[in-house]
């Protein structure tokens, strides 16, 4: 069973170029200017094919700007590909950012509702999970305080606690685990292991070698928008480290 199928997908971003010639010159040579701007888009992903099986955990590694986050954003459906198709089978929880939509004037409890509904739960589903979310976060004592009084680690804990209660079938994780104290991190990893046992598909973007080794059964190394290598995590990490 395939969870995610990425088929010959390319994504280019228009470069923001200044009109180097000045307005008048640019207007006089408009077709030329347009051609130049069109000719030099930034190719974030170039003809990528990738299949992720149901229940598989895939780690995406690569240098900054190699297209990792673009790939996750495409799978999450927040941007659309230039060419190619993406199929996603199952409920996606895109953890591209913890606590998306959090408002600092609202209390922890109010933010759980806001974030949960934005992430796709109904208000009733959030209410049913409230107790579990609060217990997981360990922030009972702070729940009725505005989160501007929280430390950044506490905010991240709250966000992660909502995220792991979304009952996802596919979890997209973008470098968000480096938060919270050691104790909470251990709790996050336990939860991810639990997701794996339950057969949740996980795609994780990370710079942390240990995360890939611990969690993933396959690593994909992106370089300049192309897949440079993929396969057994140790081998791919080794090759990436040498590059």
């Amino acid at each position: 069973m395939t969870a995610i199928r990425i088929d010959h997908v390319s994504k280019a971003y228009a470069r923001h170029r200044h009109l180097t010639r000045g307005v008048k010159e640019s207007l006089l040579h408009l077709p030329d200017v347009i051609r130049r701007v069109r000719a030099e888009p930034f190719r974030a992903l170039d003809n990528i094919c990738l299949e992720v099986r149901k229940g598989e955990a895939v780690g995406i590694i690569g240098a900054n700007g190699s297209g990792k986050s673009t790939m996750l954003a495409l799978i999450a459906g927040v941007i659309e590909p230039e060419a190619g198709t993406i199929e996603v089978h199952g409920r996606v929880a895109p953890l591209l950012e913890l606590g998306a939509g959090f408002h600092y004037e609202l209390t922890g409890r109010e933010n759980i509702v806001l974030n949960g509904v934005l992430m796709g739960l109904t208000r009733r589903e959030v209410a049913e999970r409230m107790e579990a979310i609060v217990a997981f976060s360990g922030l009972e004592a702070w729940l009725n305080e505005p989160i501007r009084t929280y430390s950044s680690g506490m905010v991240a804990r709250l966000g992660f606690s909502v995220a792991v209660h979304l009952d996802p079938e596919i979890l997209l994780v973008d470098e968000i685990l480096a938060v919270g104290d050691a104790h909470f991190q251990a709790k996050c990893y336990d939860r991810l292991d639990e997701f794996r046992r339950q057969g949740v598909t996980i795609v994780i973007v990370t710079h942390a070698r240990a995360e890939v080794q611990r969690l993933c059964e396959r690593a994909v190394w992106l370089d300049g928008g192309k897949i440079a290598m993929q396969g057994e995590p140790e081998a791919v990490l080794e090759a990436y480290a040498k590059s």
């Binding site: 971003y13 954003a73 999450a76 459906g77 927040v78 941007i79 659309e80 996603v88 089978h89 199952g90 409920r91 996606v92 929880a93 895109p94 591209l96 950012e97 998306a100 939509g101 408002h103 004037e105 609202l106 109010e110 509702v113 806001l114 509904v117 934005l118 992430m119 796709g120 739960l121 109904t122 208000r123 589903e125 505005p146 979304l166 009952d167 996802p168 596919i170």
Partner: protein, 266 residues
């Protein structure tokens, strides 16, 4: 359990959209009133101050008279609904841009951001209606039973108009940021071209055609008639709904064309 499916394939259910809008409106209301001691007073103060200034400048200094009504009363009947329109439209250009991090990271129907901002302005408008009542009583007028069907009817027409226009402005401003400035200027102009501080009855006949072309004039005039005379003018209501539907259609088309690229442009 199907709610999360929005992230992949199926269209979100209506009840989920309603939840989303409700939660976002609650957020706006809470944020607006938190840390402000006077709370409600602020949402009344703004239109009241404007009304007072126009009363002095136009009613007292220029001695503008509206046949049949004390000028302050006439002014407030149009000024309050206008204030809703103006604050929604004034905020519209920034709706998507201010929520950039959300749009880039979470997949949800983005139009709910516009809907919830317009709705919370609508609630503020409805909360100011008691002030209209007080002023009516003060001048020896009285509210009418026709308000009961009239207020929801006109408020819905205004919601369609403002939501449609705000959706268009918010979407276009993502690709063309200068629009924000243009909207400010346009609103200023539209205010004086709409019969808010004057009534149609004192406009020379040869200019009436221009007022008929103004898409928000029927709405404002319908509010004035409802608040001042307790009369729900069917022709004005029909015209208000017509322009509401046109705004909604145009706004939706523009949103549909531009929203797929929001994720990379905001």
């Amino acid at each position: 359990m199907t709610a999360l499916a929005i992230a992949s394939v199926t269209r979100p259910r209506l009840s989920y959209i309603a939840d989303l809008i409700l939660v976002l409106v609650q957020k706006e209301m809470k944020v607006r009133y938190k840390n402000s001691a006077l709370g409600y007073a602020w949402s009344v103060a703004n239109p009241l101050v404007f009304t007072a200034v126009y009363c002095v400048a136009l009613g007292v200094f220029l001695r503008l008279q509206i046949p049949g009504y004390p000028y302050p009363l006439f002014l407030i009947a149009g000024q309050f609904p206008w204030q809703w329109l103006a604050s929604s439209m004034g905020g519209a250009p920034m709706v998507f841009i201010a929520n950039a991090s959300l749009i880039k990271k979470v997949r949800f129907p983005r139009h709910v951001l516009v809907a919830s901002s317009v709705l919370s302005d609508a609630i503020h408008f409805l909360l100011t209606i008691p002030v209209v009542v007080l002023l009516l009583l003060w001048y020896g007028f009285a509210p009418s039973w026709s308000w009961l069907p009239g207020i929801p009817l006109l408020a819905f027409a205004q919601f369609l108009t403002v939501y449609g226009a705000a959706l268009a402005v918010a979407s276009v401003n993502v690709v063309f940021r200068d629009l924000e400035r243009l909207v400010g200027i346009f609103l200023q102009a539209l205010f004086f071209l709409t019969p808010v501080v004057y009534s149609v009855s004192i406009v020379p006949l040869q200019y009436h055609v221009w007022i008929r072309l103004n898409p928000v004039a029927p709405l404002i005039r319908a509010w004035q008639k409802l608040f001042l005379d307790g009369h729900l003018d069917p022709l004005l209501v029909a015209a208000a709904y017509l322009s509401g539907l046109v705004c909604l259609a145009v706004g939706s088309l523009i949103y549909r064309a531009l929203s797929p690229r929001f994720g990379e442009l905001v």
